[in-house]
C-alpha cells in the first residue's frame, strides 16, 4: 500500500486544507442507491491485445490479486472548475498564477465526495474485496482480493492467454459496475498484465577502444553522445544545474546505482552535484531485467541535463493486474514528491480503457500541484506498434508534455563533430548545434506522434503548423532519439551501451524543465502553455525541424515548418528556452527586412539577408545569422546585408530555415524564414588528385572531374581555372604551379550541358614548398617530415583516407595518388641546404 495514502477518507477530508490557494468550494455530487443487479459495462475495458486470441485457461479463482485500482472520476462541474484553475495557474494576470495546490487541497476541491468514495468502498467490500487505501485526491481506491472475488464483483472472467510465448491473464469480457456507481466510478485501472512498453531501442554494447572513452567514435553507429555533447548541442545553460529541484522518475525496477555513478565518472564528475534516491512504493520488485535499461537511461540522462537536481526514482512492483508504472506515477503525484516528472513508458490510448481516465486525472492533478510531466511519445512512429494510427495514452492527456524524437542530419558536413574521442579529459565531441530531422531509422524506431482520439486540442496548442480546433496533437517537443546515428551512451551493470529512443528524450526534457524551475524558484506546472506561447513569440527557443517523417507500419506523419506531428515545436535551444520560460523581463523582438517571406530558389542562388531587433530593456544586442545549412555568421551587424549562396545536390527540394537571433546576454529573440532550395539538375565533382592540400611547385599535377549532366542532356563545355591565370579544357587537365609559388590557389572546374544548365566545383591547393615538405605539419621543414613520408611509403590514397589517417595526402608530394620513391626523392632534393 502506498505509504502516503489516507486510510480513512473521512479523516483525510477533516485534514484537508486549501492552503494558500483561493477558496474552491467542491461540488458534492449525490450518491444514488447502489443496486448491484443493475449494471453498466465499462467501455473499452477489454484489453485489445487479446482480440482474436483463444484463451488457454481460466485464472485460478484463489489467486491473490494485489494493488488493483478502482478509478473514480470528477463530477462535470468539478472538472470544468479544475480546467479553469489550471488555465489561471498559467496566466500571469491571475491571482492563481503559479499558486499550486497540495494533494489534499486538490482532493478537497475537485475530488469525489466522501459519500461517493464511501459508496464505492462499501461496494468493493460487499464482494469480499479489501480496500487498501484511498488516494488523497479521492480519485482512486486501491483494493485487493482473490481472482474469484474480482470476477464476481465486476461480472467478468479472468482468463489466461499465450502471447509471444508468454502467459498473460486478462479479463475476457467487459468489466461491469453498478449503475448507481457509474456517475463517479470510471472503472478499474486494469485487470490484465499487458504492461506499458519502455520506449528505448535495443541496447548495443560499446566495445573495443571506444569503451575507454565516453565520447566514443562508434564507427558505423556514428558518435556516442555523452553528457557534454548534450550540453553543447542543445546549449544547456551553464548557470543552472537543477539544484534544489526534484525530478521524479516513474519506474518499476531497481537498478544497480553504481551504474549511475559510473556513468557520471565517464563524463565529467565535477558537473554532478545532485543526488539519486530510490523510493520503493510498497514491495521491492528487485531488478527487473526487461525494465533495467529504461531506469538506467532515465536516471543517467535526467542527470546529464540537470546535474544538480535531486532524482527520485519511484519504484513500484507490477502485480498480476496493475502495472508498476501506474502505481509509481500515482505515488509521485499523490505524495507531491517532485516538481518535475518523467515517464518513459507507454501504451496506445485506444487500448488503455479506464487507464486513460486514470492518467487524464492524474496529470491534471499533477499540473494543479505545479508538477511538470514529460512523457515519451514512443518509438513506433505514427502508430504504437499495432499497424494503425495511435498515440501513447500516457502522453496524450493535455496536462502532460509529450516528447518525441529527432536525429542529427549533418548533410555531409564534418565540422559538427570534433576529433574522434575528443581531446582533453572530458570533452564534448560535438562542436555545436547539429541540424536535425525526424527520427526514423528503419528497423529501429521512429518518433511517436499523431492525433489523440480522446482529448480535444487544448486552448494553448495553436500556432504555425497547427490547424484550429480538432483533437490534441502529439508530440509537443522533441530531442535526439536515434539509436544508429547517433546513440546515447548509458551504463548498465558496468557495461557501456549505445541506446536510442524517445525514452531518453523525455528525461532530458524533464532535466531542462528542472533548470527552468531552479531559475524561476517556483514550480512550472503544465509546461505546455509556456512552450507554445514561447514558440509563437520567440522562434529561436526551438530548432524547428522541417524535414523527415515518422512513417511506421504504413502510417505516416510529416515534418514541416512550424509545429508538426513528428517533432512538435522542435528541439529546445535550452539557454533561450530556460531564460524565457523562467521569467524573463526583457523581450527581444527580431524583424526581418529581407527576405520577409519563404523563398524558392534554384541551387547556386545567392540570397540577401537583412534584419534587426529591439530589446525592451534597451540593452545592447549581439546578432547571429544561421542560414540553416550549417553556415552561421556570428557578430553580425543590425541592418547590414549579408549574402549567402545555397547549393543543393541532393536531387530533391531542401528547405533551410534561416534565422536571425539577437541576444542581450540574458534573453534572446529570433525570427526565421524558409529558403526552399531546388536541386541543381546537373552536378559536378572534382575527384582527384588532391583536396585542400599542398602541391609541390614545379611538379605537374593532374586534375580530374566528373560531370553528371541533366537527364537526356550532354556536356557541352568543360573548363578548368587554376586560379593563377591559367585555364584548360576537358574533364582532365594537367597543370604545373610556379616553381617559386607560395600561394593558395582556388582551382575551379565548370561545365555546362546542352540544356543550358551549369555547375561548378572548386578546391583549394597550397602551392608552397615549405608547407608541402612539412609533411608532419609541425610548422618547420626538417627531417621529421621525411620520416612521415617514409611512414606512408607504398600507400595509395583512398577517397576517405580511412586507412591512412591523413598521412598519404600530406605525403604524396607530387599528388599522383600514391607515396613512393618519387616523393622521397622530391623531398630530399628540395631540402635546403644539402650537405652530405
Amino acid at each position: 500500500m502506498s505509504s502516503g495514502w489516507s486510510k480513512n477518507c473521512v479523516f483525510f477530508l477533516a485534514l484537508g486544507t486549501f492552503g494558500a490557494v483561493p477558496a474552491l468550494a467542491a461540488v458534492r455530487d449525490g450518491v444514488p442507491a447502489v443496486d448491484d443487479s443493475l449494471r453498466i459495462s465499462v467501455a473499452r475495458s477489454v484489453p485489445p491485445r487479446i482480440a482474436g486470441l483463444t484463451a488457454s485457461g481460466r485464472v485460478d479463482a484463489t489467486l491473490s490479486l494485489e494493488n488493483m485500482m478502482l478509478v473514480l472520476k470528477m463530477g462535470t462541474q468539478n472538472r470544468a472548475r479544475l480546467d479553469q484553475l489550471l488555465r489561471d495557474q498559467q496566466d500571469p494576470t491571475s491571482a492563481s498564477y503559479h499558486q499550486w495546490l497540495t494533494p489534499e487541497s486538490f482532493g478537497a476541491s475537485f475530488g469525489p465526495s466522501a459519500a461517493q468514495v464511501a459508496a464505492a468502498s462499501t461496494w468493493l467490500a460487499s464482494h469480499g474485496l479489501t480496500v487498501r487505501g484511498v488516494a488523497k485526491s479521492g480519485l482512486a481506491i486501491t483494493f485487493s482480493g482473490s481472482a474469484g472475488q474480482v470476477e464476481e464483483a465486476f461480472q467478468t472472467t479472468l482468463k489466461t492467454y499465450q502471447v509471444d510465448g508468454v502467459t498473460h491473464h486478462a479479463n475476457a469480457s467487459s468489466v461491469t459496475i453498478p449503475l448507481g456507481l457509474s456517475g463517479f466510478v470510471q472503472g478499474v485501472a486494469s485487470l490484465h498484465d499487458f504492461r506499458h512498453q519502455p520506449h528505448h531501442t535495443l541496447p548495443r554494447p560499446v566495445t573495443g577502444a571506444a569503451l575507454s572513452h565516453p565520447m566514443a567514435d562508434l564507427g558505423r553507429y556514428g558518435n556516442g553522445l555523452g553528457a557534454m555533447d548534450l550540453a553543447t548541442i542543445y546549449d544547456l545553460p551553464a548557470a543552472y544545474t537543477g539544484a534544489g529541484v526534484t525530478i521524479g522518475l516513474v519506474e518499476r525496477t531497481d537498478i544497480d546505482t553504481a551504474d549511475f555513478t559510473t556513468f557520471q565518472e565517464l563524463q565529467d564528475p565535477s558537473r554532478y552535484t545532485g543526488s539519486l534516491t530510490v523510493s520503493h512504493n510498497g514491495a521491492d520488485p528487485g531488478v527487473v531485467a526487461a525494465d533495467e535499461m529504461e531506469a538506467e537511461l532515465d536516471t543517467q540522462w535526467a542527470a546529464a541535463a540537470a546535474p544538480g537536481a535531486t532524482l527520485l526514482m519511484a519504484v513500484s512492483a507490477s502485480s498480476y493486474t496493475t502495472d508498476g508504472v501506474d502505481l509509481s506515477a500515482q505515488y509521485l503525484v499523490e505524495n507531491n514528491l517532485a516538481q518535475v516528472i518523467s515517464v518513459s513508458y507507454g501504451s496506445a490510448e485506444s487500448g488503455m480503457g479506464s487507464d486513460n481516465s486514470f492518467y487524464d486525472q492524474l496529470w491534471a492533478q499533477a499540473a494543479a500541484q505545479g508538477i511538470s510531466v514529460f512523457v515519451a511519445t514512443g518509438d513506433e512512429g505514427a502508430t504504437q506498434g499495432g499497424g494503425v494510427a495511435a498515440v501513447n495514452g500516457l502522453a496524450s492527456p493535455p496536462y502532460a508534455t509529450a516528447v518525441g524524437g529527432t536525429m542529427f542530419h549533418e548533410g555531409g558536413i564534418t565540422s559538427y563533430w570534433g576529433v574522434a574521442n575528443g581531446t582533453g579529459t572530458y570533452p564534448a565531441t560535438a562542436t555545436g548545434y547539429i541540424p536535425e530531422w525526424v527520427w526514423n531509422e528503419s528497423g529501429v524506431g521512429a518518433s511517436g506522434g499523431g492525433v489523440s482520439i480522446l482529448y480535444a486540442k487544448p486552448s494553448w496548442q495553436f500556432g504555425d503548423g497547427l490547424a484550429a480546433g480538432g483533437m490534441r496533437e502529439l508530440p509537443d517537443v522533441a530531442l535526439d532519439a536515434a539509436a544508429d546515428h547517433d546513440p546515447y551512451l548509458a551504463v548498465m551493470n558496468g557495461t557501456l551501451y549505445g541506446v536510442g529512443g524517445t525514452s531518453v528524450a523525455a528525461p532530458i526534457m524533464a532535466g531542462i524543465a528542472a533548470l527552468a524551475v531552479q531559475k524561476l524558484r517556483v514550480s512550472l506546472g503544465n509546461a505546455g502553455p509556456a512552450l507554445y506561447t514561447l514558440a509563437r513569440s520567440n522562434s529561436s527557443a526551438f530548432h524547428d525541424i522541417t524535414s523527415g517523417n515518422n512513417t511506421y507500419g504504413g502510417v505516416s506523419r510529416f515534418a514541416g515548418i512550424g509545429y508538426d506531428m513528428c517533432t512538435g515545436l522542435g528541439s529546445p535551444e535550452a539557454t533561450i528556452l530556460v531564460n524565457a520560460i523562467a521569467g524573463g523581463s526583457s523581450v527581444v523582438t527580431v524583424t526581418l527586412a529581407a527576405p520577409t517571406s519563404t523563398q524558392t530558389i534554384p541551387s547556386g542562388t545567392q540570397v540577401a539577408f537583412r534584419g534587426s531587433a529591439t530589446d525592451s530593456n534597451g540593452t545592447g544586442l549581439t546578432y547571429t545569422w544561421d542560414y540553416g545549412d550549417g553556415t552561421r555568421v556570428t557578430g553580425a551587424t543590425a541592418g547590414a546585408t549579408y549574402y549567402h549562396t545555397y547549393t543543393n545536390t541532393t536531387g530533391a527540394n531542401v528547405t533551410n530555415l534561416a534565422t536571425l537571433t539577437a541576444s542581450d546576454g540574458s534573453y534572446a529573440g529570433g525570427k526565421s524564414v524558409s529558403i526552399l532550395v531546388q536541386p541543381n539538375p546537373m552536378s559536378v565533382t572534382i575527384t582527384l588528385p588532391v583536396t585542400n592540400v599542398g602541391v609541390l611547385p614545379g611538379i605537374p599535377i593532374t586534375f580530374t572531374a566528373t560531370v553528371a549532366p541533366a537527364s537526356n542532356k550532354s556536356v557541352t563545355s568543360s573548363t578548368w581555372n587554376f586560379g593563377d591565370g591559367s585555364t584548360a579544357s576537358g574533364l582532365s587537365a594537367t597543370h604545373t604551379f610556379s616553381e617559386n609559388a607560395s600561394s593558395v590557389y582556388t582551382v575551379t572546374f565548370s561545365a555546362t550541358d546542352s540544356g543550358g544548365n551549369a555547375a561548378s566545383a572548386s578546391l583549394q591547393v597550397v602551392a608552397d614548398l615549405a608547407s608541402v615538405m612539412d609533411a608532419n605539419s609541425e610548422g618547420a621543414v626538417d627531417v621529421r617530415g621525411l620520416l612521415r613520408i617514409a611512414a606512408s611509403w607504398s600507400k595509395t590514397k583512398v577517397a576517405s583516407d580511412t586507412n591512412l589517417d591523413g598521412v598519404t595526402i600530406a605525403s604524396d608530394l607530387n599528388a599522383d595518388g600514391k607515396v613512393d620513391d618519387t616523393d622521397l626523392n622530391l623531398w630530399m632534393e628540395d631540402f635546403v641546404p644539402v650537405v652530405e
Binding site: 621525411l786 617514409a790 600507400k795
Partner: protein, 190 residues
Amino acid sequence: MRLLQGIPALAAALLLGVLGCGGGKSSSGPSLAYTNPTTNSADFQLVQDSASTGHNLVLDLVGPSGTSGVGVTFSFKLDTSQASWGTSPAVTNGNVFSLGSGTQLAKGWVTSGQLQGIVSNKGLTGSSVVSDLSLSTSATSGILAKIQIQPASGATTGSATLTDGGLGTLLDSTGGISAITVDVGTLQLQ
C-alpha cells in the same frame, strides 16, 4: 640537383671547401676522445663504436632496451671549430633497419653545424626491431645509425661541444611517430 641550382656559386665553392677539409685523414693535430653518456635506460644513447680511431670517431645511435620501431630521425649540434661531421658519409645505417631497394633512407644533412639524419625502413611493412644492446663501445647489435666525426682543421686540445639537436623521432610499426631524446657523451680533443 634542383636545389643546388639555387645556391650561389660562391656558397657552393665554400661548401666544397668545407667538404674537402672534412675529409682529411691527417694524423697531425689533436685526436678525438669520446666518453659515453651516463647510463639512462629510458633514453636513446650515442655511444662509441669499436671502429673509432682518434681521427675518425664513429658513434652509434642505440635505443633503450625493449624499444621497437621501423625508423628514426635525429639531430646533433657540433662545435665546428673543433670538429666536423664525417663525409664518407656522416650518417650510415646500423644493423637494425632494412633499407630496401631504390631510394634508401640513411642520410644526413648539415646546416650551421647541425646534423639532421634519418635512418628508416620504407613503409611500415618491414619487421619491427628491438634495440636491446648494452650501452658500451662494444655494441655489435641494435645499432640504429652510425655517425662519423673528425677533428676540425686547426682544432686545439680541449673540449668540443656535442649536443642533441632536438629533432629526434621514432617511427613505430603502426605509423605512429613519437619524439625521442638522445643522451650524448662528452667529446674531447687531446
